[in-house]
């Protein structure tokens, strides 16, 4: 675990760490840092697509439910107006679309992030608390083939970071 004082230092360090051959990296920051996921090579474009698919499902189910109940399930003739009065179905279709996306996206977000998580070794690092306030941490996993306790520590220190080890 290497701590940097500013997000910029962290952003500069990551390409060098990757160039040195380390692959199992993760960064921990108190707030979203632009370009960090790119630097780590972890860009994830799935969220918008998930949202779109959920929206399509929500819209179809919402409209379908109304159309079926009003035309087939329980047709009510009110003043001779058409049963399939689609403009009147727009508000509920819209609300259900958004509701489906919101609920679905929330669940997908947690699932993609492997949350809820009861325990993560990173949180045991003494300095981790600061990574939620004013430190920007880079985390190298020991399973990395390039990992060597002393060499890795020395390497990270040359990048200007405070380093500490985390046990599982």
């Amino acid at each position: 675990m290497a701590y940097f004082k500013t997000p910029e230092e962290l952003l500069e360090a990551i390409p060098r760490v990757r160039a040195a051959g380390y692959r199992y990296l993760e960064a921990y920051t108190p707030f979203p840092v632009e370009g960090l996921a790119d630097a780590l090579g972890r860009r994830d474009e799935r969220i918008p697509w998930i949202a779109f698919s959920l929206g399509v499902v929500g819209a179809l189910v919402g409209f379908g439910m109304q159309a079926w109940t009003q035309v087939v399930g329980y047709p009510l003739n009110i003043g001779g107006k058409p049963l399939l009065a689609w403009p009147a179905y727009v508000p509920i279709t819209f609300e259900l679309t958004i509701l489906t996306i919101t609920l679905g996206l929330f669940v997908s977000l947690l699932a993609l992030n492997n949350l809820p998580l009861a325990y993560h070794p990173v949180t045991q690092a003494p300095g981790y608390r600061q990574a939620l306030t004013d430190h920007f941490a880079l985390y190298l996993e020991a399973r990395d083939p390039r990992f060597d306790l002393e060499a890795t520590r020395a390497f990270l220190q040359t990048l200007g970071a405070e380093v500490e080890e985390v046990s599982r």
């Binding site: 500013t6 969220i47 949202a51 919101t102 993609l112 939620l132 004013d134």
Partner: protein
């Protein structure tokens, strides 16, 4: 977006590092509450008890305990339903629309206003439930296969209303919770007792602040903000259709959806100011909720209030232009009927006093701003009174005209929801930080450090350009 000309000192005042800012914001929860907190909780608790008692009386003795009659079948219940829902709008507006517009000043306001939204919508949701007369059958509103083989009538705005309110409640709660997650993780790590650590830890869902998580989180957050935006507008528009679909003179007008939406934003910002002005003083948050924030909120209030005022005049014009005798009679009934004081008070506040906000002198004076925001809440209450009760009290047949006289149960429900509102907010900010810490740290970074870094960047060209850096709050 370029940083505001004086952006680095106006949105967060004082010399702050990340650590001191976080300490200050989390301190609201970690330190003992200001002395005023206890009386507020007591008052809120008493109000909530009163609310429960009034609901109990309603359930045991029926709607006869209310002042409603025929033709005024929608009385205080609907007035307060619409009033509370309107107040709820500022929260989502600030948190969602302003995210999309990348307005940095929202960062210190969004949590508080989202909490306000949550409790205002809960207060609002009480009224339609209890005014059904047989509230135990409320689930008949939902589509589910039942032994009667009946389905809801989806062509009715009342059925839309149910879904719109429930969607809104769900979305605003989830949005609030999503924003809370990083702060809960911070509280978890700072917790001194095992119990607090377990509590915040469970609620934080094990958030670690990993870059990959942040990346997805920002993508989802911005998307949800984009989706919540039309919902804000749709909710009060749907509520307005409950009225506009009816033939009652004074209701049957197509301009109702934007009218209600503008009124909701106006009253929402008014209530937000009413809450924030004392809160920032009690919790010493002047450094993060600056006069500049209040000034901008007052401007939003002015803009939406002007929309409302315009539609008041438009309503009169439409009544005249339609040459519909019942519409004309309804307007005359408002002007000089028994309810005329309500109508003129509404006009005075929402058209007259509103204009004070044009002047910086009033926008920058806390007592004035507080007074105007309270009056705006009163004005919007009067507006709903005018729309719901005055319109209903005289429709088509002179023989069916009847006035509405609220009973103590009506007032009890109203005062009680106030108690619940205050109690809810007081407890919430005791347990959860009322200002989004992670977002404020991010803002501090954008305001202070990017400014310094951007000078350095120009020389060595390592960093992103300052424009992208200062405005890019979507995930990178």
């Amino acid at each position: 977006m370029q940083a505001k000309p004086t952006g680095d000192t106006t949105l967060i005042q004082g010399e702050h590092t990340y650590q001191s800012l976080a300490d200050k914001l989390v301190g609201v929860v970690e330190k003992p509450p200001p002395r005023i907190w206890w009386p507020l909780v007591l008052l809120g608790g008493l109000g909530t008890a009163f609310l429960l008692y009034a609901i109990l009386v309603t359930f045991l003795q029926g709607l006869g305990t209310w002042g409603i009659n025929i033709p005024v079948a929608w009385g205080f219940d609907i007035v307060h339903f619409v009033w509370w829902i309107g107040i709820g709008h500022a929260g989502t507006l600030i948190s969602a629309i302003l995210v999309l517009m990348r307005q940095d000043w929202r960062d210190s306001l969004n949590r508080l206003t989202e909490v306000m939204t949550l409790f205002a919508v809960l207060c609002a949701a009480i009224f339609p439930l209890i005014h059904m007369g047989r509230p135990q059958y409320f689930y008949w509103l939902l589509p589910y296969p039942n032994s009667l083989a009946m389905w809801p009538q989806f062509k009715s705005p009342l059925a839309w209303d149910v879904l719109a309110i429930m969607t809104y409640l769900t979305i605003s709660t989830l949005f609030l919770y999503l924003g809370l997650i990083p702060d809960l993780a911070l509280l978890r790590e700072r917790a001194k007792s095992r119990l607090a650590r377990a509590f915040y830890g469970a609620l934080s869902l094990g958030w670690t602040g990993s870059a990959t998580h942040w990346h997805r989180y920002r993508a989802a957050y911005v998307l949800l903000a984009g989706l919540a935006t039309p919902v804000v507008i749709s909710v009060h528009s749907v509520v307005s259709l409950d009225f506009a679909y009816g033939l009652v003179p004074g209701w049957h007008i197509t301009v109702f959806p934007p009218f209600f939406a503008a009124g909701a934003i106006y009253s929402g910002f008014a209530m937000a100011l009413t809450l924030i002005i004392p809160l920032r003083k009690w919790y010493r948050l002047e450094e993060v909720i600056t006069l500049r924030h209040l000034d901008w909120m007052a401007k939003v209030m002015l803009a939406s209030g002007l929309g409302v005022a315009y539609i008041y005049l438009l309503e009169l014009f439409v009544a005249w232009y339609s040459a519909e005798p019942y519409e004309l009679r309804q307007q005359a009934w408002r002007f000089n009927g028994p309810y005329a004081p309500y109508f003129w008070a509404m006009m005075l506040i929402n058209v007259g006093i509103l204009q004070l906000l044009w002047f910086p002198r009033f926008r920058h004076s806390l007592p004035w701003l507080f007074l105007i925001s309270v009056l705006a809440n009163v004005g919007m209450w009067l507006e709903r009174y005018v729309i719901v009760i005055i319109s209903l009290s005289r429709d088509f047949l002179p023989s069916s005209a009847k006035l509405f006289h609220p009973t103590w149960v009506d007032w009890g429900l109203f005062i009680g929801t106030f108690g619940f509102f205050v109690l809810g907010i007081a407890l919430f900010i005791r347990i959860f930080p009322p200002i989004a810490v992670a977002e404020m740290l991010h803002l501090l970074h954008k305001l202070r450090f990017h400014k310094e870094e951007s000078h350095a960047a120009r020389s060595d060209g390592l960093l992103q350009n300052p424009r992208g850096a200062s405005g890019g709050d979507s995930s990178g």
